[in-house]
Amino acid sequence: MSGPLLVVADLVTHFPIKAGLFRRVVGHVRAVDGVSFHLDSGETVGVVGESGCGKSTLGRSVLRLVEPDDGVVAFKGEDVLSVDKTRMRELRREMQMVFQDPFASLNPRLPVRDTVAEPLIIHGTAKQEARQKADELLEAVGMRPEHGNRYPHEFSGGQRQRVGIARALALDPSVVILDEPVSALDVSIQSQVINLLDDLQHRFGFAYLFIAHDLSVVRHVSDRMLVMYLGKVVEAASRADVYDSPAHPYTHALLSAVPVADPGVERKRKRIVLEGDLPNPGSPPTGCRFRTRCPIAHELCAIETPPAVDVANGHMVACHFPIERGETLLDRVAQLGRSVGVIGG
């Protein structure tokens, strides 16, 4: 196949802020504000960022579960955002989603077999056949098919998430968007579900867009990663580049928050604590959006929005003063004679 499977370019999704008696639109939350990336078949792209940075909205916009305001989503060269309803329904076979909350994402009044069979029935498979296929799918995700006529409340969180995965696989899609698929699960269950997703990818060749707020979760599965902050991608690179030579100060801060399994290392580890909260996405800071919390911000950062620059073969960073290979954020802070909140060390 020529070209990437999915191309997203300058995607913009705004939510209107309504106020007053007549629900007048007084502004917009720029949930996704000009995001571009591509996804090749069979690969995993991880999307990380803190809550509210727009990563879930990004996933939903790609599937048109919320309508984007601008930009391009091209699946196998076809513009997804401009197709009509009928074609969109066909395209949904190719792009499926696993949702974050396994309690809210399954219909409590539907036995899980029916939930898994539903996409098939919608797309014209006969009921009996769809149920049979649903049993096979339940088995593929490590559930017992004879539990198919049970209701969601009879399962644990991890099992429900398996059902959610089985549903997403039912139509044999080529792209699966995983919207924080494990963040609602216990840590012990998280790895099981991640391993399952990994297995399924090897067996069926799905491309994953893996959304997470936790870097340790996507570390093992991603080929490439996007780091998002307040609706924008601040760093996009291969997994190795992001973990070994992060260039954006925000990525540094995120990475420093990941705990290390070795208690000796963990005790000595320094965690950078960013000041303040995520700014109001209704009125983001001028220039670089991260500058209000950035320990190394300069005057320029308030004036000019940093463009995404390629710092090393495909390692894209949107920062005026990217941190260089081998350098740490703390080095840079010290060099500037500033200080930053640090825990541990």
């Binding site: 579960l65 499926q96 989603m97 949702f99 219909n107 009044r109 919608i122 269950i189």
Partner: protein, 299 residues
């Protein structure tokens, strides 16, 4: 080597045989003793309303020479001012009251659920329109409207039903609208959409079953409300008219005789109470039975 990824947190001792949804609903309903009792009472009452008048030696509008009788062997419920047998009139009255109540409850449930669902699901101008209509109906004083409509449209059981339905659908519509607003944002609805489901499928297969519990409760409450409102109207002389009896107008007719023959008020009155009470218990039981996550279905 065993497959360690295959979590088997489900206790295998739990029965796994398939049970139909209807069977599960019945199993849960059965455990609700009061609701079962209420259902039995309602069935017995309803059957008797249809059977008893046929067995009675008197017609419900037959005038006998024994007027204003207290309960006797010949007339166990007594007779009214012009000598009609009150036993047969009370049971006939129950028949008309039940008929009106069911008609009102079913039609309001249908209208209210449909309008509420459409308003809540689609939002926008459809919601604005439906909500404004609801507000208008709620704003006007119900009794005044009932009186005017009853005067204009006459007082057959049919027209009373239509008048009551026109006033009562708003309650259920508001409940359903609110629930649809809440459910349409749920992830399982989004999942259905991402699977390609159309609006109709989402509304009726995904959201509606989830709102059935509250709807059933509202419907049963409506049966009670309809019986009481019909009685009120009849009491005010604007309900179903002479000679057709309803439980309401029987009480109304008897109000002058409450001192001399209190049974004339108490007997039809207690039927109203018994029906409304049973309906409410039945509603409680049905709500729990229709909720698959309410306990007890499996044990």
């Amino acid at each position: 080597m065993t497959d360690t990824r295959h979590v088997s947190a489900i206790d295998d001792s739990i029965e796994t045989e398939a049970r139909s949804f209807g069977r599960q609903v019945w199993d849960r309903f059965r455990r609700h003793k009061l609701a079962v009792l209420a259902a039995v009472v309602l069935v017995v009452l309803t059957v008797s309303f249809w059977v008893a008048p046929a067995l009675s030696p008197y017609e419900f509008d037959e005038i006998t020479p024994d007027f204003r009788q207290p309960p006797t062997a010949a007339h166990p419920f007594g007779t009214d001012d012009i000598g009609r047998d009150l036993l047969v009139r009370t049971f006939m009255g129950g028949r008309f009251s039940i008929r009106i109540a069911l008609l009102v409850a079913l039609s309001t449930t249908l209208i209210g659920t449909l309008l509420g669902a459409v308003a809540g699901y689609f939002g926008g101008w459809i919601d604005a329109l439906v909500s404004q209509i609801i507000n208008m109906v709620l704003l006007v004083p119900a009794l005044a409207i009932l009186l005017v409509l009853a005067l204009k449209w006459g007082s057959s059981p049919w027209s009373i039903s239509i008048v009551l339905a026109a006033l009562l659908w708003t309650r259920i519509a508001r409940v359903v609208r609110g629930l649809f607003l809440q459910y349409k944002e749920q992830e399982f609805v989004m999942a259905a959409r991402s699977a390609g489901a159309r609006s109709g499928r989402i509304m009726f297969r995904h959201i509606l079953p989830n709102v059935m519990g509250p709807v059933v409760v509202e419907t049963t409450l409506l049966v009670g409300t309809a019986i009481i409102l019909e009685s009120t109207l009849s009491f005010l002389g604007l309900g179903v008219q002479f000679p057709t009896p309803t439980l309401g107008n029987l009480v109304a007719e008897a109000k002058g005789a409450i001192d001399s023959n209190p049974y004339r008020v108490l007997l039809p009155g207690s039927f109203v109470m018994l029906i409304t009470l049973s309906i409410n218990f039945l509603g409680d039981g049905l709500r729990d039975a229709l909720d698959p996550s309410s306990g007890g279905g499996r044990t």
